[in-house]
Symmetry: C2
Subunit: 194 residues, 2 copies
DNA sequence: GCTTCCATGTAATAGGTTACATGATTTG
DNA sequence: CAAATCATGTAACCTATTACATGGAAGC
């Protein structure tokens, strides 16, 4: 089984009823933001399908000063389906990083580009960290807190690694360079903790 | 630009010539294993396309005792294309974790399942760590070492977090209701396989 | 006045996985 | 003797992204 948008929506609706628009926002800014993401183009069809299958119901709400809203709620069958799904074994994570791919070819880039890439990366991680911190409220379930903490730990580790090891790819390689002191290239061993 | 299998293959071939079969193995077991993965169904068509575009060339090699092999090498145009691609801004990481999704609903699972999930996760991370350690050879480029070290740091942080915080989801939550009867509603379950 | 937020949806497209099809050889 | 490894490829399928289409209200 793969974690698809349909299951993501069902899970989110088991926490609270919401519209498609709100779901997208929750994925993007909620406590699970670091590993969930979905576009409207996948959310709306998913909700239609869940409704057809009887796992959620929809009630249209007219609002003043705002567009109409379709609020979806989970049904008992939906809750059941979610709990059944939760008994299976989770599939492996899907992680694909263009940043790391680029970095693995740092010798093919000039120093400026490499540094820029790392700076950008640090900034995006800081941004994501801020999002997680904002969504850390008291009303989160233990599970959500656990997951949020996990994301936070990963980002902290990421920042630390980038800061501590950027010199490995920023030190100009094979240059007929003049005397540059401080050639502190530490052997990039895997197990360097401190 | 998105990191597609075609670009992954081109990058790998810029390091060394290889067959499609070898590329898959390299993705799965090499120093970039933690964020690259591709099936044969995507690699072989990608190689065909790269050849058509003149970015790689192919030479068939007959082997004794083994099936014939198609060894692909990068062309100057291919090397050029790779370096051009490297000047762009990398797209955001794609990360989707079914494990974390499950954990965020830990209250809906029984304690045994939660513990099993965490144990399994620890074991898979340990397995991936072993793969990375095995691929840590001296002939890696600085970029590859940097990326491999990054993966290693992430896994270490992951293990530490799991071990230090599993109690957050393993402590039994105050459940009001004792016996939940299992009503056998044949609900249209989510992706029931097996 | 421009941009962002609210709000829903469809269609074209891209990109990938899984299963299928084939088959010799080596390892346990 | 069964399983894994080596080796390539296609076809059916699935899922998700992007762009398109629409439009009022609120904030800057």
């Amino acid at each position: 089984m793969t974690l698809d948008v349909r299951t993501m929506c069902l899970g989110a609706l088991s926490e609270a009823e919401a519209s498609g628009y709100e779901l997208q926002k929750n994925f993007k800014e909620g406590p699970l933001a670091h590993f969930l993401e979905a576009s409207y183009g996948s959310i709306y069809p998913a909700l239609t399908r869940l409704t057809e299958e009887g796992l959620v119901t929809c009630s249209e709400q007219t609002q003043e000063g705002r567009p109409d809203k379709k609020v979806y709620s989970i049904t008992p069958q939906g809750q059941d389906a979610l709990e059944v799904a939760l008994r299976a074994l989770p599939a492996e994570d899907r992680f694909r990083s263009e940043f790391l791919f680029f970095m693995s070819f740092s010798e093919l880039m000039d120093a400026g580009q490499v540094s820029r890439l790392i700076d950008d990366r640090i900034n995006t991680v800081l941004g994501k960290q801020a999002i997680l911190e904002e969504s850390n409220r008291e009303d989160l379930t233990p599970g959500q807190k656990f997951v949020l903490g996990y994301g936070h730990a990963m980002m902290k580790a990421s920042l630390k690694y980038l800061q501590d090891n950027r010199h490995l790819v920023e030190v100009p390689q094979m240059r007929p360079a003049p005397a540059q002191k401080n050639n502190g290239i530490t052997s990039p061993s895997l197990n360097q903790d401190q």
